[in-house]
């Protein structure tokens, strides 16, 4: 690290201090400027980027702490060290609390000053490097997870790139297991909001009362068990993105609340009265046909139009069979690495089975099957018997616990016409566990039951 690269601004109303420090830091090889007051410092910072500001705590007019506050509130990219004229614990604590990197007491021990400056600049450099790397990483990885050379996938990637930069609401439609969350993550990572959080809400996994408090937060004592005030997902997103998965599963009451948040851009916590301003982008996803639900009166049309500003249709895997080998190879590589196993590929029989399968559970089903194969298979190749896919030609039943559980869940779900609450009760598990199992096994209701459910 050559100190010549760094620039330092000395802010002090005393000429002798400015001169001494400018002289000293010039000798140390830094590029040094001086300002006699906080406003002068701010105008210098407005015109050029400086790595470090060393400011006196006591100055007439705007003091060092006010300058620090201004630098922080304007999010200027510079580190700050505060100088105090005498050892004032109170001033030092205030400086550190307000985000100063360090404070030094005049006169400085040369070694201490030198170390404080070196550390501040090193931290500044690391922060900048970290930001740059995160940006590069986000850009390079955002789309590579969406594997597929097929035309529909190419179109999806193009749509993601188009919509990421604009702040509009996105509706992702696709069957279970097609990768809707991956698309949402890719959009977030390519968007200007990428340095803020992406908050994921699985609407289907939450009961109506829970979803309200999850989304909007709650005040202390809002309901039994609400011991603390809690921020909701919209508040937690803080300038980022809220991904509402399984949006079709929310009740009409929550739909109304959600619509209001999308329109007003403010929320009221459960049990609260004060509206709170929130800044977020919404990406919603569903495995159902929302326009059908609108016609049936089960989804508010105004909310539907709010969400459906830009729609991305994710193709089911059976419509892009050509991508199966690529995806299978990707998951094989991923799980081999995770489980430290040395698989090099699939033998011919395994590959034929993979390509001929109908994939009702889509990419998630493929991922689960490959993961299992990596556990049970013998290196270096995955063979057909390692794949938990029912082969009609052989007729033999897969007796693994997983396969039995999957079949049993389907049976019970069908018995209750896919009413998940009743099915969960019959299975002796809670609805959320059932929900996760349905996702895991890539189960979906047959067409006829979907339309008769109301």
């Amino acid at each position: 690290m050559s100190p010549e690269k760094y620039s330092i601004l000395i802010v002090d109303d005393e000429q002798v201090v400015r001169d001494s420090l400018v002289h000293w830091f010039t000798e140390e090889g830094y590029e040094v400027e001086a300002a006699a007051s906080a406003p002068e410092a701010l105008s210098r910072l407005a015109s050029r980027e400086l790595d470090l500001v060393i400011a006196d705590i006591r100055m007439p007019g705007m003091d060092g702490l006010e300058l620090l506050e201004k630098i922080r509130s304007e999010q200027l990219d510079t580190s700050v060290i505060i100088m105090t004229g005498y050892a004032s614990v109170e001033g030092a604590v205030r400086a550190l609390k307000q985000g100063a990197f360090d404070y030094v007491t005049k006169p400085f021990d040369p070694d201490e000053l030198s170390v404080a400056v070196r550390n501040a600049l090193e931290q500044h450099r690391l922060k900048r490097e970290n930001r740059l790397l995160r940006q590069q990483l986000a850009e390079s990885f955002a789309l590579t997870e969406l594997i597929g050379q097929s035309e529909p996938m190419r179109r999806v990637r193009e749509q993601i790139e188009t919509v990421a930069g604009v702040d509009s609401t996105v509706l992702i439609e696709g069957e279970s297991g097609t990768g809707k969350e991956l698309v949402a993550r890719a959009i977030h990572r390519l968007s200007p909001r990428r340095f803020n959080p992406l908050v994921v809400v699985h609407c289907g996994a939450l009961t109506e009362t829970l979803i309200e408090s999850e989304l909007f937060g709650h005040e202390k004592g809002a309901f039994t068990g609400a011991q603390y005030r809690k921020k909701g997902k919209f508040e937690a997103a803080m300038g980022g993105t809220v991904f509402l998965d399984e949006i079709a599963d929310i009740s009409l009451k929550t739909q109304t609340d959600l619509l209001r948040v999308l329109q007003e851009r403010e929320i009221v916590r459960v049990g609260g009265t004060q509206p709170v301003k929130v800044d977020f982008r919404v990406i919603a996803a569903t495995n159902r046909n929302l326009s059908d639900l609108v016609k049936e009166g089960r989804f508010r049309s105004d909310l539907y139009y709010r969400l459906n500003v830009f729609a991305i249709q994710l193709p089911p895997l059976r419509e892009r069979h050509g991508d199966v080998p690529l995806l299978a190879a990707h998951f094989l590589e991923k799980y081999s690495r995770q489980m430290n196993r040395k698989f090099t590929g699939f033998d011919r029989g395994a590959m034929e089975l993979l390509v001929s399968h109908n994939w009702p559970g889509n990419v998630r089903e493929l991922e689960n099957i490959v993961e299992r194969a990596v556990v049970v298979g013998r290196e270096p190749l995955i063979r057909a018997p390692d794949l938990a896919i029912n082969r009609p030609s052989e007729g033999s039943e897969d007796l693994s616990l997983e396969a039995v559980e999957r079949r049993h869940i389907i049976r019970v779900l069908e018995d209750f016409a896919w009413n998940q609450t009743q099915a969960a009760k019959a299975l002796g598990i809670d609805r959320v566990t059932l929900y996760h199992k349905i996702r895991r096994y890539g189960l979906k209701p047959p067409e006829r039951t979907r339309t008769t459910r109301a």
Partner: protein, 174 residues
């Protein structure tokens, strides 16, 4: 060590508190002649700190000498924002000053060591001379131009400029 040609015009001027035989040895070993008369440091004295303002000493030296000059002192030097300095120089200017006060082992409660003191004094003087020639601090910790805020750091240096700093010194106009 062989010093660049432009150093030939530099004079070593006693500033106070430095035993004459030490000044002689530093002059002999560095090849820089002693100039006279000695500088009276009293205008730079700060009674509140019981130290001498090195920036003020540089001004006094420049007022009394035409050419390049290095003041050699045995006084406790400071600049207003720092608790002390080993020395100070005008970057690319005419005057520099250094002191043996905090280079002495006795200052740290240790037994005196004359040879070590001369070594440290020579390093400190050559360091300030480098600044006088316009060299900033060097990131190479073994180079004479690396910053030193403690005697340990002075001792850790080589008694030489690193090749990069030497090249820059030799290229300077005489």
């Amino acid at each position: 060590m062989k010093l660049p040609a432009w150093v030939a015009g530099v004079r070593l001027v006693p500033v106070g508190g430095l035993p004459p035989e030490l000044l002689e040895e530093i002059s002999r070993r560095s090849g820089i002649p002693v100039g006279s008369p000695a500088l009276d440091p009293s205008p730079a004295y700060d009674p509140a700190r019981d130290q001498y303002d090195s920036t003020r000493l540089l001004l006094e030296l420049k007022a009394r000498w035409e050419g390049r000059v290095v003041g050699a002192a045995g006084l406790d030097l400071f600049i207003p924002v720092l608790t002390f300095v080993f020395g100070e120089a005008e970057m690319g200017g005419r005057a520099a000053v250094f002191s043996i006060h905090r280079l002495r082992q006795e200052f740290y409660g240790l037994p005196a060591n004359r040879d070590l003191l001369v070594e440290r004094a020579l390093r400190e003087m050559l360091h300030e001379l480098g600044h006088l020639a316009g060299l900033p601090h060097c990131p190479d910790a073994a180079c004479l131009m690396s910053p030193a805020h403690s005697v340990e750091q002075v001792d850790a240096k080589n008694a030489q400029y690193c090749p990069a700093c030497r090249t820059r010194l030799e290229c300077l106009p005489g």
